[in-house]
Amino acid sequence: MQITRRQRQGAVISLVAMVDVLMIMLVFFMVTSTFLDLDMIPMAERAPDAPAPDVVQGAAVAAPGSPVMVRLGADGRSYLRGRALDADALTAALRAPDLRGAEVLVLPSGQADVQALVRVIDAITRAGPSAMRILRVEVRP
């Protein structure tokens, strides 16, 4: 008589435990995920070897050509050469032949909000200036 050893079956792993873990992870990521679509506007970029700007002295604005100044009032309205302009009118004015491609300086009021500044930046960017700077007035005692 020949005795054959029965092949040992591999240990049965319950799939239910794995499904439990997966479900918990799934619910965790569903709850903690935020669906935010965010963009960015660069505020400062400089080469790795460039020195940090001296914030105390304030940056002296070199003026090659003739820069044009856009003022942002406390009420969020923008002014070009003394005229109040909305965003579209500002873009159109900066596209005029005498201002096309000029460097634009933005002088915002400290009382205006970030949204107003971004609106002006967008309007100026659409006009395609050669450069844009934001000026800041420091009050010294």
């Binding site: 499904v19 997966l22 609106r119």
Partner: protein, 134 residues
């Protein structure tokens, strides 16, 4: 003779299909979720149609509408924010600093802060915006 009908057993549903679906969803949320520290106050970034895609990573400075500051989700005064950023920039000079300012935050709070961060030596300071027409 008594005939006994055997109780019908429910058809075994394959659990493998369920695992497939759950695993797919898990990977989906893993990929699209971004582990960002949210600010301890409400921040609604300004609307802009001129922004570019915001890459992940970096330090996030949140500015509330009333000027309160937070760094990577922890509220702290301005001096502490700048100190922490100075330390981090010393270790990683390429650190991108994202300023996540509320659209209603006043510029007399936001602009000096951005200038101070730049003066710390940050090579890239960006303003976080929400895509859309303002």
């Amino acid at each position: 003779m008594r005939l006994v009908r055997r109780p019908r057993r429910a058809a075994p549903e394959t659990i493998v299909a369920l695992i497939d679906v759950v695993f797919f969803l898990l990977v989906f949320f893993l990929l699209i979720g971004r582990m960002d520290a949210t600010a301890p106050f409400e921040v609604l970034p300004p609307l802009s149609d001129g922004g570019t895609d915001l890459p992940g990573g970096g330090a996030t400075v949140a500015v509330a509408a009333d000027g309160t500051l937070a760094l990577d989700g922890a509220a702290m005064p301005e001096a502490a924010v700048l100190d922490a950023l100075r330390t981090r920039l010393r270790d990683a000079p390429d650190l991108r600093v994202r300023v996540n300012a509320h659209g209603a935050a006043p510029l007399h709070r936001f602009l000096p802060l951005a200038a101070e961060i730049e003066a710390l030596g940050a090579r890239e300071v960006v303003l976080v915006v929400t895509p859309g027409v303002p």
